[in-house]
Symmetry: C2
Subunit: 268 residues, 2 copies
Amino acid sequence: MKTIKPIGMFDSGVGGLTLFKGIKTLLPNENLIYFGDTARLPYGTKSPKVIKNFSLQIARFLENLGIKVLVVACHTASSTALGDLKKKIKIPVIGVIEPAAQKAVAMTKNNKIGVIGTKTTIESASYQSFIKKTNPKIMITTVAAPLLVPLVEEGWVDKNVTRTILKEYILPFKKAKIDTLILGCTHYPLLKRLFQEELEPGVTLIDTSFETAFHLKQLLNENSLRNTTIMHRHYKFYVSDDPDKFALSARFFLREKIGTVKHIVLDE
Amino acid sequence: MKTIKPIGMFDSGVGGLTLFKGIKTLLPNENLIYFGDTARLPYGTKSPKVIKNFSLQIARFLENLGIKVLVVACHTASSTALGDLKKKIKIPVIGVIEPAAQKAVAMTKNNKIGVIGTKTTIESASYQSFIKKTNPKIMITTVAAPLLVPLVEEGWVDKNVTRTILKEYILPFKKAKIDTLILGCTHYPLLKRLFQEELEPGVTLIDTSFETAFHLKQLLNENSLRNTTIMHRHYKFYVSDDPDKFALSARFFLREKIGTVKHIVLDE
């Protein structure tokens, strides 16, 4: 009966819902539990040590709820805490770095890949080291873009100032003539159109949601964990700050209503 | 000997150092302990319930270190948690709202005051209710400006995009013809020049640091808590994330080096 157990996933906040949507589409039979650490977000400006502590706390909470696999939807947590979680959690754990990096390596024709992400993700060099391991000839250009998350959360995805800031952030990619760009943060898919308009035509954007959902499907298959029972699916949401505020942001991210959101205090 | 005990103060991060500097200048004989909750910052986008929990945790930590008075340097925490802290903490507690609001009421000539702050500070209506209580005739215009903190923390205080964003935020103040503006967040003094250049000439900016330090001095006098001993002062810093990163940001905020910063985990 382990196959009907839910998939557990977490993010610092609402951003991981882009991946939630990907998983829901690709694995329509699966039950899901989502945790958003909204009381302590953002993760992208904080140190690896703190992110590891937060991630382990959440992973243990989800493990106790009886999940069959853990998905780290947050790029910062995937970059810094994945190794640690794999050691300490008894169920399979996957992150978003490897799927996106693999896809980028497969897509690039001129061997020039760009990575844009939060400060901690970029400083962790997780994308860089995975790409270099796969193909040492690839040139990688990285940019830390701490303002994009607050701009998306303010809902300013169509504003001119957002375009101006984005233009400044992508200058190094234009200089390096990359042909593939990894959108290394859950929030960036909401700026996809802007990225596409401002980058040179022909640059491929790697959106991690689909790639990670695809890797998750493979992992479930390999471990005989796919839910083949046809049943009413359950999606549960837990957050560490206000559930109503999360539900509201979720509608902006998913463009659909989500179910009940529960509040949980992890550190008491 | 209670007079030589340190003053305790806290903020969500590094921003409260603008007040630390004010206290250091006005009360040069006092010992100070500063706590920055860098693992869980920012507070300004989070709900009152969560801010109350965090504030009480920190207040108890500082109380156990033997402080004689607690200063809530964070505008969001002052707006949401002050009443709660005053009930639960045995030493005197002061925040930043009342000093700034009092000064603004005293300064305005046309009875039109503006308040700019984080989302939670503005939604708490703390400035508004204090001003209205003092003088119900005063018209108050408020703006929540969630992007200013990340812009300051990115170090973009002189950039054109920051000016563009600030211009958009202050439009309601221009329409309302305010003559006094409360800078309702610890980070905003770093944008003071930009505010002054973009607002109508003659608008008075209320920077809470000096006002709060002045109130603190009065409170110490009234409670016979002033340190009159001439001695080597101690400034201690505790943070919940990386101490080195805090020390580095502190140099940007204070334009001087601070002493040793220690890391503390509150929630374990």
